[in-house]
Symmetry: C2
Subunit: 339 residues, 2 copies
DNA sequence: AGTTTCTACGAAAACGTTTTCGATTTTTTA
DNA sequence: TAAAAAATCGAAAACGTTTTCGTAGAAACT
């Protein structure tokens, strides 16, 4: 019922002009101390707060960051958002989140909506479908408008923008080497289809480690899973055929599924088969046995991405066209699933 | 480099007035078919999209929903957001997410920021600190401004707004009864401190079930945990002293922690001790043994909340002051942790 | 006393829309 | 052919700010 207070209403109530009110509230010396105090008192009393939309229109900046990710019910992405939100909030920004649901079309639509004035810049991780199609026109359009983008995790190298990633190749390689050092001879990897860049890179790192050590490797050492929903039987067959003593999984879910299957087959984890998973989330911490993981530092990635974006937003326009790719160090969190 | 296209620029380029351009693009009959087509062609060619901020200011509505929750790295909240986002998106709304981090001050600040024009309405779950203080002035302020709020999960009954909750009392009661029917005699509950309303209600439901059956109950049957971080030793002591054959936990984390401790003590789950947890998330699905849970239907709650809010936003102002509390049915998901 | 400098405020433009109203021209009708 | 009606467009207000500029009166100079 009490209408939102505006400068205009204050001006009417106090018999001054709108400009006077505005200046008084911003402590301009153009206004006498007397009227300044009077107006500020009135504003405080009735809890005046400037309208954000009007400010956005005036200033041509919204102080909002658009986030587009495939899913939110996913520990890694949730941690990234948490990291973004934290630094964004500290610097006076708010985050608008849109989910692509791994769909190209939704990604495009959401981006279009946000790009029309709602936000100052993007932080995003691409949908699987986008990666599959290799269609990035929506990114290019936004960038051409002069709106900055920071990509993380699922990035595309060719884009002229900042990126925050982990070194998937190196992480997979060193995790594999870790297993080899522990005496494992026949290691398998449970990965995703190749168009998901992280899946591909992790598989390559895995191969590299094996090659360096002249360890056993053939195409049967690699399982590529399309949809995570019904991965159980695929993993089961893979494990049965392979008879591995070490498993590297590109996410927690594959790892814990494998672990359960192995235990059902009466194989001891980690004595007979060791397991390492990418992503250090809830599952790994509470599975039985607990899983050794490669921590992706989602919070850090989010924080870095937000800092990068805000830095670019607040620098005097894009004089500096040199884009940066930050590589976040992973860390091996040793738990029970490795000896 | 190519400045964002506006009505004004189109008008200049085509030597007509701004109003003509606006009308032409909206297919007004006031404009001749000829000029209409010409302008629309031009707009399409250079990919004109109206500026959202300007529209928001003009229409006095932003088509954005503000979400304030304690945490996002939390499966339940993530599912709720997912549910909200889905229906919001369908109806042309976007979501702005702010995290309180269980802090009263952050909740207040974030709400203030969003309430000043950035959004049309709120969907929120209160922080622990807010519940502890019982200070709801920020909610009242927003409601007094005529901005609708829909609360979920952690709600406060007295607030004049719509709410979406699960019947925590009934759910805890029926889960307890389930355990009793399975022949369990001495059941304990691992809950949270009382100011978290859901913890309190669930404990009450638990007591009610025991009372009805004249089952064993004393104050040692209840463990109230303040912070989830170091709950392990507390749970360990609780289990040791209690010697239970059934456990009801108010969240997955407590349940899986209890399960692990029990197994370390060589107690068979579910044969010797059965376990039921609130929240049907990842942990329960992949723990060993898998956990029987009370599904909170986070997605449903989010979808219902969003529908309620949008409905109220789009009704001709708040003629209808009768607020509704939707109770979402829980479902018992039986898994291995109960016989 | 006349000129200049301050002081304190208001008018108006700008941000990008939509919409109401008025104005001009063309077409229709009597 | 004059009047009425329709067609087509532009001006301007409005949303709520901030900021530049102008201006009136008072104070301070010469």
């Amino acid at each position: 019922m009490p209408q939102k207070l505006t400068l205009k209403k204050i001006a009417q109530d106090m018999n001054v002009s709108i400009s006077t009110v505005s200046k008084a509230l911003r402590d301009s010396h153009e206004i006498s101390v007397e009227t300044r105090e009077k107006i500020k008192g009135y504003a405080k009393k009735f809890n005046y707060k400037p309208n954000n939309i009007a400010l956005s229109l005036k200033n041509q900046k919204t102080k909002k960051i658009g986030i587009i990710i495939p899913e939110i019910v996913h520990h890694f992405f949730a941690t990234v958002i948490s990291g973004i939100e934290k630094v964004a909030n500290e610097k006076g920004y708010q985050v608008i989140i849109c989910l692509s649901g791994e769909s190209f079309d939704k990604e495009v639509v959401n981006m279009d909506m946000l790009a029309n004035g709602s936000i100052d810049g993007f932080i995003m991780s691409l949908s699987k479908e986008t990666l599959e199609r290799q269609d990035f026109h929506h990114l290019r359009e936004v960038l051409n408008q002069g709106m900055p983008i920071v990509m993380f995790d699922r990035v595309v190298d060719a884009m002229p923008c900042d990126k925050v990633i982990i070194d998937d190749f190196a992480a997979a390689q060193s995790a594999t080497e870790f297993l080899l050092r522990k005496g494992k001879k026949k290691i398998g990897i449970i990965s995703t289809v190749d168009y998901v860049s992280v899946g591909k890179l992790r598989t390559q790192g895995f191969k590299e480690a094996l090659n360096k050590r002249n360890a056993h490797f053939d195409k049967n050492s690699v399982l590529k899973i399309e949809d995570a929903e019904n991965c159980t039987t695929k993993i089961e067959n893979f494990l049965k055929k392979g008879d591995f003593d070490g498993i590297l999984a590109v996410n927690e879910l594959f790892a814990v599924t494998a672990s359960k299957i192995l235990q059902k087959q009466n194989k001891q984890v980690p004595e007979e088969v060791a397991i390492i998973a990418f992503t250090d989330g809830m599952l790994s911490k509470y599975a039985s046995p607990t899983l050794t993981t490669i921590g992706q530092k989602g919070e850090d990635m989010g924080a870095l991405a937000a800092n990068k974006l805000i830095e670019r937003l607040e620098s005097k326009q894009d004089i500096d066209e040199s884009y940066e790719t930050v590589i976040v160090k992973t860390s091996l969190v040793e738990r029970e699933s490795t000896p």
